[in-house]
Symmetry: C2
Subunit: 331 residues, 2 copies
Amino acid sequence: MAPSPVVLGIDIGGTTTSFAVVDRDGHCLARETLDTRGEEPASCLVSRIHGRFREVCSPFSGTCILTGLCVGAPNANYYTGYVQNPPNLKWGATVDLAGLFRDRFALPVSVTNDANAAAMGEMEFGAARGMRHFLVITLGTGVGSGVVVNGELVYGADGFAGEIGHTVVDPAGRHCACGKRGCLEAYASAPGLCRTAMTLLAERLEESELRRLSGTDMTARAVFDAAQRGDAIAVDAFRETGRILGMKLADAVAVTRPEAIILFGGLAAAGELLFEPTRISLDEHLLTVYRGKVRILPSGLPEGSAAVVGAAALIWRDMETAGRSRDFSTP
Amino acid sequence: MAPSPVVLGIDIGGTTTSFAVVDRDGHCLARETLDTRGEEPASCLVSRIHGRFREVCSPFSGTCILTGLCVGAPNANYYTGYVQNPPNLKWGATVDLAGLFRDRFALPVSVTNDANAAAMGEMEFGAARGMRHFLVITLGTGVGSGVVVNGELVYGADGFAGEIGHTVVDPAGRHCACGKRGCLEAYASAPGLCRTAMTLLAERLEESELRRLSGTDMTARAVFDAAQRGDAIAVDAFRETGRILGMKLADAVAVTRPEAIILFGGLAAAGELLFEPTRISLDEHLLTVYRGKVRILPSGLPEGSAAVVGAAALIWRDMETAGRSRDFSTP
C-alpha cells in the first residue's frame, strides 16, 4: 500500500512547544510537547523539534510520508517567514524561522501566527467548515484574530492583518502592553478579565470571594471558579468583558460581514458566562441589516491540539497550490 | 474598423441620476443627468434612462458597442441585484433593480452601492491602481465604505460588507439615522461636521461667524468657508472630525491591513483641513507595527463623474469573467 501523506503542525509558545503529525482529515497520528527554552537561539529549538520528531515518528516510517510543515509562532509573518521581536523568546529582532525549518526538514514550510493557524484549522476541520466569511478571535493572555474573506485568510499589505485585539475601546482607557491605551486586549483577554474584576471590587461594596485574592493571585481561572459559585462580582466581570467584546466585534462585522465569529482559547472555555453577554452586546451594536445574522460559536477543534491541527490545516491548504513530498526518513 | 466596446455606468441618487458611456480606459464618451423623481416607481426611471441613453448615444452608433451596465444605488445588494428600502426613494421594500435594467437593455447588469462602485473605480482608474488591499471611505450625507482585500471587493456573507460608517465611536453618543447611537456617520459625515460645529459653539465662548447661522443654514460648505477664513471654531470642527475619523479608521486597519485609505466624496473635498487631523489621529491610534505605513489619499477619479466611472469599472471587471456583448442599437 502506498504511504499516506501527512504534515507536521508545530505551535511555538513562550514556555512550551507542541507538534503533531496530522493527516488530511485533521487526525493527529502522534503528538509531542517539549520545553521551548526561549533563552536559546531559534536554531536549537528547530534541531530539538527535528530530533524529537524522528524519534516519535519512526513507527510510522514506511506507512506515512511527511509532505510539509507549518509553524505557528508569536509575531510570525506569513509573507516573509520571519518572526520579529517575539515576546518571551530571546531570538533577537528578526529570525528567518521558515528558513531554519526548511534547511532542517528539506520540505515546504509555512509560518504563521496562532490566530491565523486557528482560523485555518476551524475552516478545514472545525466550526467554520463550509464558511467563506468568518472571524476567529483568540482569547488568552492576549487577544488575536484571524480574518477569512472569500474562503481565504486575510494577511493584508504586509502579513499583519487581523489585530482586532488592538482596536480601541476607549482612547483614554487602560494601558495596553502594546503601548497604546484602551485596546480591546486590555479588556477581553485573561488579564483583562482580572483587571475588570479588580475595577468592580474597587467600585462596589458587596462581599466577594475575590476580595481575598492578591493582584498576583487574581487569575482568569479564579474569576471563573468564583462566577461558577455565583459570586456576583465575578459574574459581572464576565458580563462586562462580553459587553466590550461584543461592541468591538460589531465594529469588525461592519468591515467584512462574516457569517460567524468563533471564540477560541483559554477565556472562551468559560462558555456561556462569556458567550451570552457577548452575543447580546454584539446584536445591540450591530447595524440593523446585520442583526441576528452573525453567529458566535465555540471552537470546533479538539481541545489541547487546536493550535497544531490549525497549523497543519494551513500547510495542507498551501501545498494544494504547490505539491511536493518527501519520504519520512530522508531529511 | 471594429466598433469599440463600452459600458454604461449609472449612479442613482435621491435627487439626481447620472449615467455615462465609459470605455475600458475609464474615459467618459458621453455623460447625462436626469431627475430621479423618487416618488415614481423604479421602472419609470429605468425607462427614462433607457430613452435618454438612446438619444445621447445615437452619434456613437456604429463606432461603439454597449457591452454591459452597472448601477450604483443606495442600499443596493450586489449578490441579489435588489435594492432594499432605499432612503429618499418611494420604491417600496424591495425592488429587483438588476432585473428591471436587464429586461430593458438585454445586457449583463451589475448592481452595487456607491461606496463599492467608488472602490472599484479607484482600483481600475484612480488612486488605488496596482493596490491589492485598500479602503475607500465615502464622506457625504452619510459615511460609506468599500473594502478591497486581495484585489477583490469584499461583499461578505450577504452582500452588505463595508459599513464602517456604523461602527461605534461612543455607545452613549449622538443619535444616528440608523437608529443606533454614536456611529461614525453621526460624526464624520457632512451633517456630522455641522453637529460638531454646533457642539463647539455651545461649549466655547469665542466669536465665530458660524454663530450667525441657524441650524438649518449650518452646512458643511458654510463650515468649510468659515475654516478657510481662519474661523477657529470651524477649523476645530474639522480637527475633531478628523480625530474621530482617524481613530475609527485605525480600527478598520487592524482588520484587513490596507496599503491605503482613500477619502472620497463631498467632505473629502475639504482637503488638508480634514486630511491632516485624520492622518495624525490614524497614526496615533494604530498598532506600532502599522504606524506610518497606511497612506490616506484623496480620490484619483475625475470630480463629478467618479460615481459613474466607478460603476463602469465594476461592470468591466465583472464581464471579464463572463464576456458577452450587444450592439448599441439593438435593445
